[in-house]
């Protein structure tokens, strides 16, 4: 369990996100502490993905997306940063649709290190092997590191995307329904890795599997219709100590 004395990694104040006139998130307040796994559960269209997009400023890629409120990363407002790329390099993201870049598997995972200026082959080799192993992909691709990442199977591309995010050595790792294209056994392996990674980074885990949140998250937030219904210690949510009846209904599978 994460102590309340851990420093705050990410502070969300009164966050509202709109697409055109439609609000995807409205008035959300949250704080996420260092070295915790923070789960976000909720039905489709609850605003979970938009929430992640706002954190690493993906709203810049979408002229429709409007963000209001404050997002403080290490105490700095991400919308007032001078170097947005430095922010993104510290945040790893994995979205449900896997993207293997059209370069070799090796280059996919070495890319982030190369962007940071690491050129030495031995060092790159080490990073590639470590990240692919953690993403439970190493055994499958170690003999064909030169195949195109974009030609791997969907599940492999998903793990490649995770490996790439890990290769950033991020301070914050955001996973959005990462297990959607991955088989249950591999999902379990990755979940074990996430538990280990907690000592190195902060993790936000958006998931549609409530049991996954229960297995992994220290605290969990329940999102519904663009609002954050409640945030609580995960065990509390799952042992009927919820404040809001809607949360209990969702956790117990009565809707969603």
């Amino acid at each position: 369990m994460v102590s309340d004395t851990n420093p705050v990694k990410l502070e969300i104040q009164n966050l509202t996100i709109r697409y055109g006139g439609q609000a995807a998130i409205s008035g959300v307040n949250l704080s996420i502490r260092e070295h915790e796994i923070f789960g976000i559960i909720g039905p489709a269209n609850a605003g979970k993905t938009s929430f992640l997009k706002a954190i690493n400023r993906m709203d810049m890629f979408d002229s429709n997306m409007r963000v209001e409120g404050n997002i403080l990363f290490n105490g700095q407002d991400v919308r007032k940063l001078r170097n947005i790329y430095a922010l993104r390099s510290r945040i790893g993201v994995v979205f449900p649709l896997p993207v293997g870049l059209p370069m070799s598997v090796y280059d996919n995972v070495a890319l982030s290190a190369r962007l940071r200026g690491i050129k030495e082959r031995a060092e790159l080799d080490l990073i590639v092997e470590r990240c692919l192993t953690r993403a439970a992909l190493w055994d499958e691709v170690k003999d064909r590191l030169d195949t195109l990442g974009s030609l791997l199977s969907g599940g492999q591309q998903q793990r490649l995307t995770i490996a790439r995010a890990l290769s950033q050595e991020p301070e914050l790792l955001m996973l959005d329904e990462f297990s959607i294209a991955v088989d249950p056994v591999t999902t379990m392996r990755i979940e074990d890795v996430l538990k280990e990674l907690k000592s190195e980074m902060t993790i936000i885990l958006v998931t549609n599997l409530v049991q996954q949140a229960r297995r992994l998250a220290d605290r969990t937030a329940f999102f519904l219709d663009g609002g954050c219904v409640e945030v609580a210690q995960t065990e509390a949510l799952f042992t009927q100590q919820t404040r809001d009846p809607r949360t209990r209904d969702y956790v117990e599978g009565r809707f969603g």
């Binding site: 890629f61 002229s63 993104r88 510290r90 993207v99 870049l101 059209p102 890319l111 974009s150 030609l151």
Partner: protein, 293 residues
Amino acid sequence: MDNHMFAATELNQKNQRTEKLVRLLFILMAGLLILPVLIILFTLVYKGSSILSIDFLFTNPTNGMTEGGIFPALLGTIWLVVVALIVSVPLGIAAAIYLSEYAPDNWGTRLINLAIINLAGVPSIVHALFGLGAFVVFFNFGTSILAASLTLAIMTLPVVIVATRESLQAVPHAFREACWNMGATRWQTIRRVVLPNAVSGILTGVILEVSRSAGETAPIMFTGAVFFSPFLPQGVMDQTMAMSLHLFVVSTQVPNVPENLPYGVALVLIGMVLIMNSISIAFRMHLRGKKKW
């Protein structure tokens, strides 16, 4: 009941007849458009092939351009095209990268697009006037390869821009976002993900531009190409002969030319252009067959 069904079949048959007729009509139109051109091309080959030889390509014209080969024109065209490429390829690729990767959706970008459309649409003779007024007279390059190539470069700039932009945009947006999400700058993303996957498409565009520049006549005829020159060009400030202008000269300006000589020149010119275009097309089809995602 029977009557009704019969009527339906008759209508159906009528429809099918019309269908066949319409299809035939369109095939006919396509055929009528393409057939004459093929006949013309075969005539060119038939009448010009007798003069074609290695000698024809690599000797100077003699006896008032009524005999001999086309070497200075061939070499001149290569000079003109290469110098034009040196200017237009980097500029065109830069413009395409800007438009595809950086340009915001605003009136300034629309203005650039409009300018590109017009660069391609302005008559070649107007480009010639511009080349004369700007490069020959104002910048005082004189009639030279430099002036002619600059004129050609500006005129054919849209070819490179359009081909490059198309191949950049063929790289799925998801790859860029994945790369940006890792903290890559726009340029790092372009250099490591977008360009490597667009480079063959860009090359196709460059080949097209070579073909286009080699065939142009009007833009070079007052800016750097001459009817006849006893010397081969030594540098960009020299005048030169060129294949396209040479065809114009031997078919309209020189008396007593044997019939097969201009046909030979036309054949070499059209051969150059069509081979370039075929390479470009073959290259494109090869790429399409090679899936990378």
